[in-house]
Symmetry: C2
Subunit: 316 residues, 2 copies
């Protein structure tokens, strides 16, 4: 079966054909245009441009989804109201289309084709601008009562703590999201703390502290970088500890930019930090680095379409 | 079908016949003796003493359970090693017997017969000496990968915060468990804070701050009592917020001594506190006071036996 995965990101739209072994066969990328009509047209054009005819399409979208409808997407211009992504793409392409929140798609992708294979109680944690999450429980993707499950980034670990992008205080994301980590650095530097982070970013022509900038500063043992990362690891450990105490997980997968850059040593640190909060230790619980890496978005979306098509869980 | 529920507590063993409408028909109570043999003999004697012949027996036990085996029970003398409660009672009685952790049994009881009826994504929170919890997810009791799910009391909400009975810091229980609340009061009084809590306990001939003592001190607006309860409500709100952000629950049930005494106003306060941490609000999510009250233990255990017997999930 030929399946197409679409990663509808705030910066780029990536469209790819993915084979039965979850490998990318052909891929196109285009800058994300403004507005739902233009975005959906770009996806349709991308799918049609692929050499192989598709049997099904999976789309990962950056916001909450209910029945294929993207409810809102703060990082996509013009998506401030519900857009029926699955139905509109399905009608335009004449194909079954499934749409899923990108963090949820990511955990399903890792579960089907990556570091989550074989797990039955899996938490995926995505370290990006914010902190995303997704759950597989009892061997099935878990969405909760109203479709909003897996918001790991907003698990409160320090009541009254640092301000999060969501407006609340003490969320995991307030310590471990790239945007919040950068704010902590800028605030400390503004108060006179020394750090090579800002100049490393400037040297590399970046206007923000990318995962690469963080990795270099940590290699050079920049005090402030080490301190902010320690806080991130500690908050991730508490959040994952909360999830394990509630859910008794058998696997935790860490992915996203900074996880990819810092690799297994970061995963090991987070695992140790979480064990400090875990009531019932279990030797069979494993922590792993996400395996799909750069192609995660499209491979996950394609895996989702494949799974949905096999189980008949798609708009015909 | 005649089903017997057994509540094997640290102080008393309660054995009851429970009818098809989850009402207690007949009940016996005896002080809990020391040692597994004596405890199991007391349960067998209690079941035989009931007028109606039983078709199945459910037992709630104060510790982690795997396949009917009570692994350990800190509050039961001599239960410092695994005891095969279900198999030993089953052999002695010649009946199908299921054994379950009492917090898990409690949430199943509320779900089948109490304030959790109709919920599909339910968290039960039990405010006792400690803080217990249990989950029903997707319309089924949830036990996790290794049987240790539902440890709501040990969700960390304040990293580096108050010391919990489990030896960790900042758990929900460190603020909302009766033992920890009492410690907070004793520590404050030792430092010179004024409070009517200790004298209320003495007046009532209690050597600890019971739920009744708390209720009276709060009625009389004792500053320290109000302050310690505020902290408990705040920690419960953060922990429930964590669970909702991860699991998108449709119902939360609060039970246990202090919840029973303070009633719906406490439930409403905890609901408001949790909403401050909830990313995706939902009008259809409800918070309720546990309905089975004093009979919860035996009714829950009986409901469990009934459910297990109906699904064939019991040792024959």
């Amino acid at each position: 079966m030929t399946v197409v995965g679409v990663d509808m990101g705030g910066t780029n739209i990536t469209v790819a054909t993915v084979d039965d072994d979850h490998r990318v066969v052909e891929r196109h990328r285009t800058a994300t245009p403004a507005g739902p009509d233009a975005v959906l047209d770009a996806v349709v054009a991308g799918v049609r441009e692929l050499d192989a005819g598709a049997d099904a399409v999976g789309v990962g979208v950056p916001g909450p989804v209910a029945d294929g409808v993207l409810l809102t997407a703060p990082n996509l211009a013009g998506f401030d109201h519900p857009v029926d992504v699955a139905a509109r793409l399905g009608a335009a392409l004449g194909l079954p289309v499934v749409a899923e929140n990108d963090a949820t798609a990511g955990v399903i992708g890792e579960w089907v084709a990556g570091a989550g294979r074989g797990a039955r109680f899996l938490l995926g944690v995505w370290l990006g601008t914010g902190v995303g999450g997704g759950l597989v429980l009892e061997g099935r993707p878990f969405r909760g009562a109203f479709g909003g499950a897996g918001e790991f980034g907003h698990v409160p670990v320090r009541q009254g703590g640092a301000l999060c992008g969501c407006g609340r205080r003490g969320c995991v994301e307030a310590y471990a999201g790239r945007a919040n980590m950068e704010q902590a650095v800028r605030a400390a530097v503004a108060k006179g703390r020394r750090s090579i982070l800002p100049e490393l970013a400037t040297e590399r022509g970046k206007d923000r502290l990318t995962a690469g900038v963080w990795a270099r500063a940590l290699e050079r043992e920049d005090d402030l970088a080490v301190e902010v990362l320690d806080e991130a690891v500690s908050a991730l450990g508490a959040g994952i500890g909360a999830a394990i105490n509630l859910l008794d997980l058998d696997r935790v997968v860490l992915g996203g930019g900074i996880a990819g850059k810092l690799g297994q040593p970061l995963v090991d640190r987070v695992a140790r930090a979480s064990r400090r909060h875990t009531l019932v230790p279990d030797a069979d619980r494993t922590f792993a680095l996400a395996a799909l890496a750069a192609a995660a978005g499209v491979v996950a979306a394609a895996a989702l379409a494949r799974a949905a098509t096999l189980t008949g869980d798609h708009p015909a």
